[in-house]
Symmetry: C2
Subunit: 424 residues, 2 copies
């Protein structure tokens, strides 16, 4: 078997056509859902000044950067996430847009992690942000969008659950236990890891904060009265018929440093995988990036393409929906068979006309024997073949699944005739 002396870098992916159509199905679904919620698409660069990420993303990300010096001596980094760039952009341009702003983005991010199942070194992320609104109605709108996205991808109630939490609860818990700002950040990092902390690496750090694992677990399991924000979000989702997709779960805090209020994560209902998606409120990021000059409260949501693709492939009805959607858009509508090489100029003319009408056409690019052309037609995936032979302007249209054949004359109604056949 021939092998290139070159390979993709570890954790990076080639998308062959069969993978690219899966990627594009995800992207199309992301865009459809964002549009239904009135969001506009934007994009920021894949490379930014490193300082942007060191200062604002926080958490583990600082150790996972693809970071380097460019030819001009700049310290630059492949983006590990998009929100820091969005914040940077908003400082400069938010005044040009009425509030609240509904913005989304689909782009690639890069993290130098150990490649493993569900974890690559590059991934696409769909980021959705609602900017300039403090009311929990904004948080609820984004959570509703995240639920609608799961439904649009073919998941049913019970396949997934939104775990809803509030960082303010942990802020209050930290204050009650006398923690300062840095200790509070450390507590949040520990709580974020507890669920998968099999060997107790993170639980062990609690005594340094003057806390016990029992105290923290009691705080998770017996939260008492919910905050007004959580109550408002639940009532809002209830009005949309989405209450049953959500459970309050204060063990969720999210990894990034900039969240300030409501946070949520979407999991498969067995919670057997990493979070599929998540988000939350970050009211101070834009202010921090502008040295306090711009105050723009915000709530955001993000989903990567790797975990959701795995979950779709493990969920038969979601997989079936995806496969049907992809099959409904064949690459080629019609394969031209040039039965008489003398007719090639007429075949090219016919191809140009049909393509002008939006029909997708393929044909043999060099003289090819008739039976081989039929095989090519079948391999192309086209539902129909159009045979152009010495009897031109007589043409023969062949349905490649039923083998039915129909003869007609070439005239100016050709593209109309073929379009009608394709829709049948």
């Amino acid at each position: 078997m021939a092998k290139s002396s070159f390979q993709t870098l570890p954790g990076f992916r080639d998308f062959r056509p069969e993978d690219c159509s899966v990627r594009n199905y995800l992207f199309q679904t992301f865009r459809d859902v964002a549009r239904r919620y009135g969001f506009s698409e934007y994009e920021t660069p894949i490379v930014e000044a490193t300082e942007l990420y060191l200062k604002k993303s926080g958490g583990e990300l600082g150790t996972q950067l693809f970071r380097f010096e460019d030819q001009g001596g700049r310290d630059i980094t492949l983006r590990p996430e998009v929100t820091a760039s969005l914040g940077r952009l908003l400082v400069d341009c938010q005044r040009d847009y009425p509030k609240p702003m509904r913005w989304f983005e689909i782009g690639q991010c890069f993290r130098y992690e150990k490649p493993q199942a569900g974890r690559t070194r590059e991934f696409y992320q769909f980021n959705v942000d609602l900017l300039g609104e403090t009311n929990p109605g904004a948080d609820a709108e984004l959570i509703a969008l995240s639920i609608d996205l799961m439904r649009s991808l073919g998941f049913k109630q019970g396949d997934f659950v939104v775990r809803l939490s509030d960082r303010k609860y942990w802020q209050n818990f930290a204050t009650d236990n006398g923690l300062d700002e840095e200790q509070t950040a450390e507590l949040l990092q520990i709580v974020d890891k507890l669920e998968r902390d099999k060997d107790g690496t993170f639980a062990k750090k609690l005594p340094n904060l003057g806390l016990t694992l029992e105290q923290v677990q009691a705080a998770i399991n017996s939260p008492g009265q919910l905050s007004p924000d959580l109550e408002a979000v639940l009532a809002n989702l209830n009005a949309r018929g989405m209450r049953d997709d959500v459970e309050v779960d204060l063990s969720i805090v999210r990894g990034l440093a900039y969240y300030t209020g409501i946070v949520f994560e979407v999991f498969d209902s067995k919670k057997s995988m990493r979070a599929v998606s998540g988000g939350g409120r970050y009211d101070t990021l834009v202010s921090a990036l502008s040295d306090g000059k711009v105050d723009l409260p915000a709530v955001g949501f993000a989903i990567g393409d790797v975990v959701i693709r795995n979950l779709i492939e493990q969920t038969p009805h979601a997989l079936e929906k995806m496969q049907q959607s992809i099959a409904a858009q064949p690459t080629t509508d019609l394969f031209l068979i040039i039965a008489d090489p003398q007719q090639e100029p007429n075949a090219l003319k016919v191809a140009a006309e049909l393509r002008s009408a939006g029909i997708s056409i393929s044909y043999p690019l060099s003289p090819t024997k008739f039976p081989k052309q039929f095989k090519m037609a079948e391999a192309s995936g086209a539902p129909f073949a159009l045979v152009i032979g010495s009897e031109f302007p007589e043409l023969s249209l062949k349905n490649l699944s039923t083998r039915e054949e129909e003869k007609f004359q070439y005239d100016e109604s050709l593209s109309q005739t073929i379009s009608t056949k394709l829709k049948q």
Copy 2:
């Protein structure tokens, strides 16, 4: 004016929503045209081992790399172009696909050049490749696609010209003049630069090859008998009604090292800008990447987003087509006005129903005074507002341009009613 302490890196772009819709119009047109020609989309990583580019891209690119070492000590590079990656991928997977293969890709590339008009450090490139076919019918098919792309972007005959050439002509010229392989490569680099060589930097190098500028200019201006490949391409395009968009011009050789035969570039008809797009035959790249184990002749075409966007903006009928296409897809179809705050749960229910039917809905996320809600509705760009007040289930649909208002009762046919209104 508030300014972020962070900026984009020089030569990198933010796409605010109004820019992103232009980008997406280009991408949609790229995909539509590729589909009409039966091409399947693929994608390769944005980062590859540097060696891939040093060995195979050649030309100036080697000095323009965003090149660095990753945390694992690998010498890696942000891709300056896509064809080297495609070649790498094809070595490993081409046996899985019937020939010829019709593949395309839309992705970002990075070159460390001095930023100037029409030249950024990142750009999106639409790459189209036909693989496994030596017949010039393949070259003609790609040139036809490049012409169809210009037409699909709203350009008319006379707005642009395809300049068609053949590297074999220069190979023969080099052989006739006793040049070796390295000298031939140098000659091609010089010919590529001659048209813009105002200060004679490149012409000055010809004597080193034992050539004069007059000799080279005579070879460009009086090519004599065209090669059979050029004749075949011209006849093929003539059959499609595209002959008048093409002129034979042997001054075109393309910058990259891997081209082996027919090459072409598309220019605005005043030739006032850089080439808009271009391509050509590269029959030996895949073989070189596989140490001769895989022989896959190929012809490719590429267009970047920066130059074509400039040309569209300078061409009134192309600009108008773009603006109409963008305006035909408003972000928001319908803005909900919640005239009575008590009705918010019903508004959320209505929003959920309409969104399920594919309608794009926005609404105020916090209690807002009635006149302000009308202003928000107008600012959203939605053609209609739906007013939900204390008379619910009575609803009022307001056309925001004509100010016409229509009252009706909420029932299960709501989404049907609204869909019909939106299509009018």
